[in-house]
Symmetry: C2
Subunit: 297 residues, 2 copies
């Protein structure tokens, strides 16, 4: 099916993630017609104007019967309701996928709200975040060399999974597969925990009596370290709670490491501190070299 392209794509949530997916597939000639669905009429009109979508709707249930593929690119908090509205309305062949940052919860939602459609459900996570949002943020090339993790359910049919993989590959992405639980453990470590640490750190500074003077002398190290504390508070609240179990494990692990380093400072343990910093630096340098080699920036 996908090799010849898909006739109708429904994108729910026409912002950076959903809009860029639609634009990239259009450029690749892999989609005939894109229906943009959302809550904000102004944003939908903007998406239409910009050619990100060909048709707009605020009623997912009404357009679901025409879908070949549905991408849920909405906050995870809205997904249950969205899935529910499609139940019994999707063509049997239609594939439903998503772009949420957590996967165990999305898998559970599919199971709860689309129990008869599970063979065509493909939970997925494109690794391409940004503070940008709205239809105007949609861009060709966003997914070039980015990773997309597919976390199929036991029920998911291989051709549905491969169909979604082919669409993402057409956007320039590199496909990985793992289970929802594996996904959530990995992203608790490399994404969710650092967001919490950045929020905690900036919150701590902001709460100091001399916060203003501290901020006055913050420079480029602070800028980069805290960039992710500019993320959307509600989105990160939802992610933190959706991935609560894995995140608590990582928080405890981090606390132990911080306790170790704090004790090394307290003891003026020169060799211990140099060793802690040295191991971290070596790992970071090796990671960054690999990241650049993969063409990521």
């Amino acid at each position: 099916m996908v090799q010849q392209g898909i006739a109708t794509l429904v994108v729910v949530g026409v912002g950076l993630i959903g809009g860029s997916f639609a634009l990239s597939l259009k450029r690749a000639g892999l989609v005939g017609h894109v229906i943009g669905v959302g809550r904000t009429r102004d944003n939908l009109l903007r998406a239409l104007e910009l050619g990100v979508v060909d048709e707009i709707s605020q009623d997912l249930a009404a357009v679901a019967p025409r879908a070949d593929v549905v991408l849920l690119a909405s906050p995870v908090g809205q997904m249950g309701r969205l899935m529910q509205s499609m139940a019994g309305k999707l063509p049997a062949h239609a594939i439903v996928t998503d772009a949420g940052s957590t996967k165990s919860d999305v898998a559970a939602l599919f199971r709860q709200f689309l129990p008869d459609h599970l063979p065509r459900c493909v939970p997925a996570h494109p690794i391409a975040g940004s503070e940008l949002s709205g239809a105007a943020a949609a861009q060709y090339g966003l997914y070039e060399k980015r990773k997309v993790v597919l976390t199929p359910l036991p029920e998911t049919e291989e051709d549905a999974c491969e169909g979604i993989a082919a669409l993402w590959r057409a956007c320039g992405a590199v496909i990985h597969r793992m289970s929802p639980a594996e996904h959530d453990a990995v992203f608790a470590t490399v994404s969710h925990l650092p967001h919490l640490l950045a929020f905690a750190y900036v919150g701590m500074v902001a709460g100091k009596d001399d916060a203003q003077r501290c901020f006055d002398f913050a420079a480029t190290g602070f800028r980069d370290f805290t960039r992710i504390a500019g993320g959307h508070p509600e989105m990160w609240r939802d992610i933190s709670l959706a991935n609560r179990e894995a995140l608590l494990v990582e928080l405890e692990r981090f606390r132990q490491q911080l306790d170790t380093i704090t004790q090394q400072v307290r003891d003026s343990n020169e060799a211990g501190l140099a060793d802690s910093f040295d191991k971290a630096r070596a790992a970071r340098v090796a990671w960054h070299q690999k990241f650049l080699r993969e063409g990521q920036t």
Copy 2:
């Protein structure tokens, strides 16, 4: 003195910080002759080749009698020895300044090793770091719009302090003054603590059984959050121990904030988490807007 420029500048440590200072003063026409002093002959030769310095020496004691201004741009761990080697050899008018990231310890070293020269000693901290090092990293414009904090001793003469301020202003920098203790408290908050957190975080990830898979999925948020974990391990060990007291206070403060957020995750406290993240985000956004308005990037 400085208004007419200085005849001879001695720069100890000809890397990014010291080299860029020399280059910027040369371009401003404020220095007649620059002597570069260092431990590594290859780096000194490179500095000479690149026109960063006009003369090189590996013997600070031998060139100190010719200095009008000495900039110690070496790791803080070497400064005591360097000061000692200049004792009794400096002209009475010569001003000695430094570029160390901590100031209470440098103030104490001045007091210990140059007790008869304190009126001409000006501890200072240019806020311009980078992972780059060596003479080849020296650049015009590094200090453009950057902040330089001067932390004069009670004994420091105003004309010495103003002389160093004028040189940094000629490099494009903005001058601030505070006490060494105030400086160290502020930088424990905005620089030293985030470095420790970044080192602790990367160290924690690197120590996991599934570290390689985690690193494979780390993206731009991870990249920025961990950039400062690429810093020099020995330099950060020295800074952490030089500013041990202030840093321990900040570590404890951070741990309390992290405990609060961890408890909010544990309790699935939606309102609490959203509030924690919201306050941090608002502070970060306001800080970044101000940072950009000041022309910093």
